[in-house]
Amino acid sequence: MMKGDSPKKIFKMGLWEDNPILVQIIGICSALAVTNLMINSLIMGVGLIFVTALSSFTVSLLRNYTPKHIRMMVQVLIIAAYVIIVDIFLKAYMPEMSKALGPYVGLIITNCIIMGRAEAYAQKNSPIPSFLDGVASGLGYTLVLLVIAFIRELLGFGTVFGIQVLGEWWTPWTIMIMPPAAFFILAVVIWITKTIQEKEKDNEKGQVAN
């Protein structure tokens, strides 16, 4: 590897092989909290992609100058700054979005994925791959959130993105919009992913043996 990983590899890792939620099991807190409506999940995901990508980029830019023992302080500072920028931007130019997001903007800062990527990737790689890595991890997070939110919103409200899909005959499952359902569905999704990934690994091994 001359100049870091190829974009294809970065995205494959972030979206599937090393997906923050499904494989690393981080960022679970917000995944459980915001997935009762798809629109909430989408906004949260977009915010996270923005913050993760740019903070990874900045951390990577500064990585050769940052003294090792204060690097975490610097990372937190950078992440906090970007979250506040998102907050100010939304308030000023997208007040509707800002209202819908409400407390979620602040929640972005506590998301382990951002710091995780800064530590695990941006600290060791050059800015552009770090930026892509942030986008990939954020996308991986967003997609999983959307899948969980789709199931919860559909069964809990009978809607998708607020649009009524299931008719009057549908009895909403109230448990789906309550916290327990998030645990169940997240567990099932992780279960399915693990099963598929195990199979993939077995296949690869089989090919090598042959």
């Binding site: 204060i70 000023a92 409400g102 407390p103």
Partner: protein, 201 residues
């Protein structure tokens, strides 16, 4: 890298100063815009309470509708928003309500008709209830239920009663019992206080 004592401190100070400067600049340059948005939002919400439809969602139309219909008067509890009819007669008041919800304080206004007999509408300015659960108090289906509630039937201050209790007039939110209760409690308390104060004046 050589371990020096002063470099990390200087480095941290520089990075902090840099980001603080950017944030301060952004904050300063958007302050007017944000204040404008917030004022507009309040106008919109007060119009909603009195069920007035501005011509469009354009800021100018909203401000015009606000100017035409709503004014403020001084009262014991501070400035009070008043709903004026076409001939400047008072049609209703926007009573500020606040109290604690499940996670934080809930602030809002409730519209009361000029003879204190009918609830005109309800709107929340800020709350921090769980999105998707208690947060649904700011959804239209919940707020619309409060329009036209008769305030003269009760004498003990229980204006809002959730169904299916007897005399219930509003549906609570499933899965958000505590938030629903908080809303009825703060509404009942603040309404009673306002009506008593104004009627006995």
């Amino acid at each position: 890298m050589k371990k020096s004592f002063s470099f990390p401190i200087i480095f941290m100070a520089l990075v902090t100063a840099f980001f603080t400067f950017i944030l301060a600049f952004l904050n300063y340059s958007t302050a007017d815009k944000i204040a404008f948005n917030q004022e507009l939002e309040l106008s919109e919400k007060l119009l909603y309470i009195f069920d007035i439809e501005p011509l469009s969602n354009d800021p100018n139309d909203i401000n015009q509708a606000f100017k035409d219909n709503i004014g403020t008067i001084k009262s014991d509890g501070g400035d009070l928003y008043v709903y004026y009819g076409d001939n400047k007669e008072i049609l209703g008041y926007a009573v500020p309500i606040n109290g604690s919800g499940l996670w934080g304080s809930i602030d809002g206004y409730v519209g009361v008709s000029a003879d204190y007999s009918t609830l005109l509408g309800l709107e929340f300015i800020s709350h921090s209830e769980t999105p998707g659960l208690g947060g649904r108090i700011s959804e239209d289906w919940y707020k619309e239920q409060f329009r036209g509630i008769d305030l003269t039937e009760t004498t003990d201050g229980n204006y809002i009663i959730y169904k299916p209790a007897s005399c219930g007039n509003v549906d609570a939110i499933a899965g958000a019992t505590l938030t629903s209760k908080s809303v009825s409690k703060l509404l009942n308390e603040d309404l009673e206080e306002f009506i008593k104060r104004e009627v006995n004046k």
